[in-house]
């Protein structure tokens, strides 16, 4: 009697644990879909794809929506290479999305290739041993193919990824509005000049200039990349005179000129800046190449004016001292834990040397010198070529020789900086208090991470 009770008890317990274990196992597989099963079956054949007859299955994680290019790229490859099949997985390039990617890699799910969008994220992944040193393959000279801008992406002197796109940042201009006001399209200008433009261009109660929040803070990063985020003695350089100038210029545009939206209003209303610009309401927009994703889309953003392009203005008076954000981006790495590294490398080389052409429709031009730029440009402009000012576009995308930088600042510093300048633009503290607070918090951070 007693014995039997024990037995049933143990049996049920084991059963319960079995069910629980089964659940968690199922959960892992479930989140991966068929990918994980197929991947583990294919793994023994890694490196020698054709040997076993099973195709190698690669998974690539990127932040661009599949329909904006990646799906077309992958489909084209898959058709040509029945032995290496690539699947594209989109992660949203924000905190949650990057966390998802990092967790997937840390827990050994199948991620063979992944795109990094900032150098600080790439560095974290390299430190965690997740990115392969591409120098080990030895058959692709990154410096030669991608040009001098690639250097900004080296981590500890090595390439742990391949920067693939030209990433252009610019001020998009409503050419018709500029012509009407008799203003030329600038090729090199300062923030003071932009302020004048904005004043003259604002019509009625509208704004003359608007900014996407991603490149919003670039002027400071340009100055500090050049002169150093820290001073010679190792303390914060966030009180650089040009930082103050940036704060005061923008604040004057918001408060005195009313030529650009107050930051508080822009933040809370999550102002759709592309929409504001493309509908013709605001004639100047500080943004990057991803604008073309929207400006080519006449269904959602009908437009009756020509777009011209100007470089992002500089804070310094001396044009020789200026570095512009941009150069090249979309740093694609191969997972160091991937079982199909050789296949992934084949795909990556093909992608960089022209396979990525369909991505141009979303504003991503290939950086490799071997890629067919005309084909990419055609894909970029589609049938909308005559709605752009060709000359200024070519200048901003190809001919501008201003040296470039890649933002590589820790997220903590980016955040503390934006918290303090938001308080300033919202009128909660003076410019000197803002600079002092930024410096104090930055110094605290430097001490913390030393």
């Amino acid at each position: 009697m007693r014995k039997k009770g024990w037995f049933t008890g143990m049996a049920s317990l084991i059963l319960v644990m079995g069910v629980l274990a089964g659940c968690s196992g199922g959960g892992n597989n479930g989140s991966n879909g068929d990918g994980s099963n197929a991947g583990s079956e294919a793994s023994p054949s890694a490196g020698a794809p054709a040997a076993s007859g099973d195709p190698v299955k690669l998974t690539m994680w990127g932040g661009v929506p599949p329909e904006a290019g990646p799906q077309a790229v992958v489909d084209a490859w898959n058709k040509e290479h029945p032995d290496i099949q690539v699947e594209y997985v989109r992660y949203v390039n924000d905190d949650e999305g990057n966390l998802k990617l990092d967790t997937a890699m840390m827990t050994g799910q199948d991620v063979d290739l992944f795109v990094n969008y900032t150098s600080s994220q790439a560095t974290k992944r390299v430190e965690a041993g997740l990115a392969l040193d591409l120098g080990t393959f030895g058959d692709y000279n990154i410096d030669e193919k991608m040009g001098p801008d690639a250097k900004g992406w080296q981590i500890n002197g090595k390439y742990y990824g391949l920067p693939t796109t030209k990433s252009a940042y610019f001020v998009a201009l409503n050419k018709d509005a500029l012509d009407a006001a008799g203003l030329p399209v600038p090729k090199d200008w300062t923030w003071d000049e932009l302020r004048e433009y904005a004043k003259q261009l604002k019509a009625g109660g509208g704004y003359g200039f608007i900014q996407n929040l991603e490149p919003f803070v670039d002027p400071i990063d340009s100055v500090l990349t050049k002169d150093g985020y820290t001073k010679a003695d190792g303390t914060s350089n966030l009180d650089h005179p040009l930082v103050k100038k940036w704060l005061e210029t923008l604040n004057a545009m918001m408060e005195e000129d009313k030529s650009t939206p107050p930051l508080g209003e822009q933040l809370t209303s999550k102002m759709p800046v592309e929409q504001e610009f493309l509908s013709g309401k605001v004639p100047m927009l500080n943004i990057g190449a991803w604008l073309l994703r929207s400006s080519n889309n006449f269904t959602d953003f009908p437009r009756d004016f020509k777009i011209a392009f100007a470089p992002v203005p500089r804070l310094t008076d001396n044009a020789d001292e200026y570095v512009a954000r941009g150069g090249i981006g979309d740093y694609i790495s191969i997972n160091a834990k991937s079982k199909n590294q050789a296949a992934a490398w084949e795909f990556l080389k093909w992608y960089a040397d022209g396979g990525m052409a369909p991505m141009a429709a979303g504003g991503r031009l290939p950086a490799s010198k071997d890629a067919d730029q005309d084909a990419a440009l055609n894909s970029l402009l589609g049938d909308k070529a005559d709605t752009y000012d060709k000359e200024s576009m070519m200048y901003v995308l190809f001919d501008n020789r201003t040296p470039t930088f890649v933002r590589s600042l820790d997220q903590e510093v980016v955040d503390l900086r934006s918290q303090e300048y938001e308080k300033y633009f919202l009128g909660a503290q003076s410019v000197d208090e803002t600079l002092a607070a930024m410096v104090a918090r930055h110094n605290e951070y430097l001490k913390q991470t030393k």
Binding site: S12, E96, M106, L130, L426, Q448
Partner: protein
């Protein structure tokens, strides 16, 4: 025989609580112990080097101005709880009377509670829009020339968040109070009326004390729930503008999942735990003075 029977009973009992205990162990106790351990390390998610740093994180916390600021913001956020309890009580009293559309109104008050938080956030962002939002439109039309900027200034953003939260909690508080009001015996109210008590006096001196156990329940659960909330703030302001709406739970989230600083995030979350514990204990002690069973 009795001995035997007792033993079987006990075993059966363990068997019944077994699955749920396993859940608590796996998903609560072990992670909690793990995070307690992390508090003494500099563990960063993805970083290969983990070192034991002793009390460094705690010292850092005590010197961290952002921690004190988020603590202050948390207290401002908590003010929403008593306000929504009082409003919920008043709404319940009104809806307990014989009035038109009673059922519809009850449903309407409860709607926010069952609506998706993100949807709520977006609707409120539109309502609060400083220049084009309907709230400021209304204020301007009744002659207020300089209405508050709500979410767009550092001084009013926490007030705006509190309003959203009060509105969100109101329906739940009202439903619980409605149930409690059914328990208030009509004889007491009639007796009071016979003795000449005015409606306001009945409300304050008779109904309010009679539902005080409910108030106590709502206060404790409301404070705990509010202190742990971060979704709605993450959706509306992400802690901004500046850092004016960064509450403790959001600060934990930012450190853990934005900066991957798990050691420090664990430290803050234990501070948060201690805060919840203290508030709850204070209420247990304080309840004797105002809760009538």
């Amino acid at each position: 025989m009795t001995n035997n029977w007792m033993r079987r009973q006990r075993l059966l009992g363990y068997l019944f609580i077994g699955p749920s205990m396993l859940g608590v162990l796996l998903f609560f106790l072990i992670p909690a112990a793990y995070s307690f351990g992390l508090m003494f390390t500099n563990y960063k998610f993805m970083s290969p080097n983990v070192e034991f740093v002793g009390l460094d994180n705690i010292i850092r916390l005590l010197k961290d101005e952002m921690f004190y600021l988020s603590l202050k913001n948390t207290f401002y956020f908590l003010l929403a709880v008593p306000v929504s309890i009082v409003l919920g009580f008043l709404a319940a009293v009104v809806l307990n009377q014989k009035i038109y559309l009673k059922k519809l109104l009850r449903g309407l008050y409860f709607m926010p509670y069952i609506t998706s938080g993100v949807a709520v956030a977006f609707v409120w962002m539109l309502l609060f829009h400083p220049t084009q939002g309907p709230i400021n439109g209304l204020l301007r039309s009744i002659g207020i020339d300089d209405p508050p900027g709500w979410l767009s200034t550092t001084t009013s953003s926490m007030v705006a968040i509190d309003i959203i939260w009060i509105w969100f909690m109101l329906g739940y508080n009202m439903i619980i109070y409605l149930a409690a009001l059914q328990e208030v015996s009509p004889e007491l109210l009639e007796a009071a009326k016979m003795d000449g008590a005015r409606p306001g006096q009945i409300l304050r001196k008779i109904i309010w004390p009679l539902v005080s156990p409910t108030t106590f329940l709502l206060l404790i659960t409301g404070l705990i729930m509010t202190i742990k909330t971060f979704g709605i703030i993450q959706a509306v302001t992400q802690g901004g503008p500046g850092n004016s709406t960064t509450i403790l739970s959001l600060y934990v989230y930012q450190n853990a999942f934005r900066y991957y600083d798990m050691g420090y995030a664990s430290t803050i979350s234990w501070a948060l735990f201690i805060l919840i514990l203290l508030i709850t204990l204070a209420q247990w002690v304080g309840q004797k003075r105002w809760v009538h069973y």
